[in-house]
């Protein structure tokens, strides 16, 4: 049970979700990360971030579309191994690639 941020966020990162999260559990490093990450241990499943996202990148764990499933693991991994998570994002969507 958590919310996750999937690939529409990549290179968008407008941080609308950060503003609304009541427990400040959405994180990223400015200038380094290409997307934001939700801490699954801190997320309270309140759903406030989901409608705030202009590109529909945020999903409740149980509603993740099939092709976005890798982000469940990637979001969690970022909190223990940022580089591994970043690499997976780059592999899924190489920098510079549009769409």
């Amino acid at each position: 049970m958590t919310y996750i941020i999937a690939d529409p966020c990549i290179d968008v990162m407008d941080t609308a979700c950060v503003e609304v999260c009541p427990v400040d559990c959405i994180h990223y490093e400015e200038g380094v990360d290409r997307k934001l990450y939700i801490d699954p241990d801190e997320c309270i499943d309140c759903g406030a971030c989901e409608p705030a996202c202009p590109v529909t990148a945020i999903f409740a764990e149980e509603d993740i579309p099939e092709d976005q499933m890798p982000y469940l693991e990637i979001d969690a991994e970022w909190f223990s191994d940022k580089d591994a998570a970043r690499k997976k994002v780059d592999d899924l969507k190489p920098p510079g690639e549009k769409g």
Partner: protein, 336 residues
């Protein structure tokens, strides 16, 4: 032996129906997170609620639960605990349910010291009915039912609990998840009525009511965390403290006053005087105290009741007919 649980084990199959972003989600999540640590199997835990947004919580818990009648959760929880003292019984209520319609029940359950954990979600508004002033709404507040300002003086939940001689009284906030968890655990560990006020943001009808206390930028200056045996120090740099001037607390700078002059918190003091004084510290004149105001030991209602029953049973064989006929009883005879 108690099984090893995780948060998931306490999550029911029901869809949570609070407004997105509501503070209630946090309280639910923290309760589900601490329950694995209270050392009780799921079937020995029960959540009892009244009416209101807060009171939907039992549906979301994978434990026993009872969504009861408005304001009456304490009475039903008292019954439950009295006949099954082994249960860990939690009462979930709000500022409307617990302090308005159910104020009287709340008073008496605390006075009796039934071993319950009472969690009062205080959002200073009636949320379920869409935004009318509640007993904790501030004076002058404009709401749907007070369009030109509330003329009721607000009640202080901690003060009510102390006046009722509650044996454990604490305050915490939805947005400070760690402190909320700690406080819930402390409440669960206490034997007797534990009363916990949780400042809870109703982001739809009273958004930001506690933001000066909960938000990162202002929290350190507007709250002081009570720790038993420790001086009251607060501020971003922990540069300020509370000193007593007679019976009046005052904010002092640690650059001007030595730490040894500060008020030292004593949660275990037999009388509630210090706790009362702390409860009077309000925003913006003072940092608002968070943590355990009071924690004292006294016999629990269900123990006293069971003790009495056992003693009397031993003393004599119960005879109901005899009890009925005892004292000033007489028979009404038909006039002939």
């Amino acid at each position: 032996m108690t099984p090893t649980y995780t948060r998931k084990d306490f999550t029911s199959d029901q869809d949570v129906r609070w407004c997105p972003g509501c503070g209630d989600y946090s309280i639910l999540a923290q309760i589900q997170r601490v329950l694995p640590d209270i050392g009780k199997p799921r079937h020995e835990i029960a959540f009892v609620s009244g009416i209101g947004c807060s009171s939907r919580l039992p549906y979301y818990m994978n434990t026993y639960g009872f969504h009861t009648i408005h304001g009456r959760a304490p009475a039903i929880a008292t019954g439950l605990k009295s006949v099954n003292p082994n249960l860990s019984v939690w009462v979930v209520t709000g500022d409307g349910d617990g302090l308005s319609i159910g104020g009287n029940h709340l008073l008496h359950v605390m006075r009796r010291n039934v071993d319950l954990n009472i969690i009062l979600f205080n959002n200073q508004i009636y949320g379920l009915t869409k935004g009318q002033y509640s007993p904790t709404s501030e004076f002058g507040k404009q709401t749907k039912s007070s369009p030109v300002g509330n003329i009721d003086h607000p009640i202080r939940p901690i003060g009510v609990a102390l006046a009722a001689e509650a044996s454990f009284v604490a305050r915490t906030m939805d947005r400070d998840t760690k402190h909320l968890q700690q406080t819930l655990l402390a409440a669960a560990a206490h034997k007797g009525t534990s009363f916990v006020e949780v400042y809870q943001n109703c982001n739809i009808f009273n958004d930001g009511a506690f933001f000066p206390l909960t938000e990162k930028a202002t929290k350190a200056d507007n709250t002081v965390v009570l720790e038993h045996g420790k001086p009251l120090i607060f501020g971003k740099e922990r540069e300020k403290g509370i000193r007593l001037n007679g019976l009046t607390p005052e904010v002092v700078k640690l650059s001007e006053v030595d730490e040894s002059e500060l008020l030292v918190h004593d949660a275990e003091r037999a009388d509630p005087v210090l706790a009362m004084l702390l409860d009077r510290m309000t925003h913006p004149q003072f940092p608002v105290p968070l943590g355990v105001f009071r924690r004292v030991e006294r016999p629990c209602y269900e123990q006293l009741m069971q003790g009495q029953v056992d003693r009397e049973r031993k003393r004599k064989t119960p005879d109901l007919a005899q009890v009925f006929r005892r004292g000033n009883t007489w028979e009404v005879t038909k006039r002939s």
